[in-house]
Amino acid sequence: MELIDMVLVSASALRLAIPVVLAAIGGLYAERSGIVDIGLEGKMLAGAFAAGACAALAGSPWAGLAGGITVGFVISMMQAFASITLRGNQIVIGLAVNILASGLTAFLGVAWFDRGGQTPTLDGASRFGAIRFPFADQVASVPVVGPVYRYILSDQTILAYAAFAIVALSWAILYRTSFGLRLRACGDKPEAVATAGISVSGLRYTTMAINGMLCGMAGAYLSLVQGGAFFRDMTAGQGFMALAALIFGSWKPGRVLAACILFAFADAMQGWLQGTQLVGFEIPVQLIQAVPYLLTILLLGGIVGRAEGPAAAGKPYLMGER
């Protein structure tokens, strides 16, 4: 593999990782505060649909982003109401979010846009374009540093830079603020948080709000940057990939980011590995696609490392109950 190929694969891995990173960090907020969220996929899908529809109608990517974030937020709040206030089964509610999003986006897409569930194709002005850093073209010929600057650091969309900022910010919030401390305590021992006079429900609603907005943003990336329109079921399991990355990254922002990039590399390598022989044996594409799931299963099985999530995640909290 030439250096330039490596740089290009890395750049494409980075682009593929962005929506998964956003959703996984959203999931991280929810799970660290004690809500198991398997509805990431559904909220991403709904966000992608809303973003595609709003951007097409308003002709601006910002309108699309706002639409995606709003829809993600609204769904997440409904999910929070069912999970926190009604103390329902979080897994089942998350599942319902996925099924509902898959059905509703297709149903509304067919009814509103009459294109078999697709939203109108977005022109360049209603998508987020790549941002070219200064002197990127001039330094591209400098060995190693040049291509890295030109293709990896430069030429990403604003959402990509935002995603990395969000990971850093989330780390700071989680580990350097009192809100973060309470949030983590809420996921491990909500009774302790309640004893300190802090509302467990309030905290969990807050994290679910952040979660919904991040999932909506992840969805917006899919339709505004990657797809150029919303397509039926366009998330294609990326929300579950985010869930896998969340587990593989042991619920910590930095590691989750690393897991997302690792998974995205497997995805980006596909094209390059296709047709290559490994000790006289052709590697099937499907095997490469299976890598994230296989790794997560190995981790869950305790074969590589250990997966220990927040202790109280998944249990509805009722004050005074032991």
């Binding site: 979010v97 509902l100 059905g103 009814a111 299963i297």
Partner: protein
Amino acid sequence: MNRATTTMGGLISALINITVALMIGGLLIAAVGEDPFGAFSVAFIGAFGSAEGLSYTLHYATNFVFAGLAVAIAAQAMQFNIGGEGQAYIGALGTMIVCLLFPWMPWWAALPFAMAASMTFAAGWAFIPAYMAAKRGSHLVITTIMFNFLASLLMIYLIVNHFREAGSMIPASGPIADGLKLLRLDQVLNRLGYDTVEAPLNVMSLIALAACAAAVFLVWHTRWGYELRAVGANPEAAAFAGVNPSRLIIQAVCLSGGFAGLISVNEIMGAQHRLMLDFALGYGFTGIAVAMIGANHPVGILPAAILFGALYQGGASLSFLFPSVSRDVVTVLQGLVVLFAGGLTHVLKPAATALVDAFVVKATQRRANVSWN
């Protein structure tokens, strides 16, 4: 509150759940400018109004009975199997192997082998997550989600590289031998002199009924079933009484997987007569809705499966007549049913049960008053 009132409460809450879901579905149809009553009656006629429609409804219902049992058996051990779809795909491998090994067999001779093979393959696929849940404490939901993706990728690989006919671009196997095609109801009716169109309803529907009966017997009338329910109710207490919870959890999840595997026999030998990519797409999720409406009991699963079979078939004729109403409205209904069942567990059923209880108490008091006067 005794068992009768809770069952009654469960039934009422299931009916409320379905009614509200249908009402919201109707509002959605009205929101896109179509007549919801017209749409529902078209769906109803599409599902039940003709022999062909009814046959499709019951054919889908057969799949959903298996998918529902795949959730319900594991649920007895408080395990949530959402891997039915993946287990059905791997079960298809067993069915196909039998079809390819014994192409000369008549269907009735091959059927037991196909059932055994599909159940074994599917149960084997369920074994790894089951083992991990029982012995390693990993969450069955997460592992079965991952296994669904793995199953789908594995089957894509096998179909594209091994089962696909030479020169064909369609991701499906070649047709199975004619003799292996399961007996369909329309064939029986034609032989009896009634002229009917070809429709997929076949002997697997009887197998689905038998599977329900077997599940009732196994879970509620055997020692194993008693132990299973004990593990579900309180694993510590069950272990104290000498039951091995992890063994029962593994067995229950594997049996669940086995039931999911039978979907492949119904589809491959009964309807499509070839192995198609994604033949069970979404069935795992429908199975969850069916099991929830049916309160994880075969007697409830049967009508719930027919309801969803009707929605599936009715949804198809709906989108045919109302172009702006896609059949995805059925997916929305499924999602709503699952949402209400999951979100309102602490609201709907207790309220309904309390309501039934109040009526029972009032009736008893009234009777008592009458006898005093």
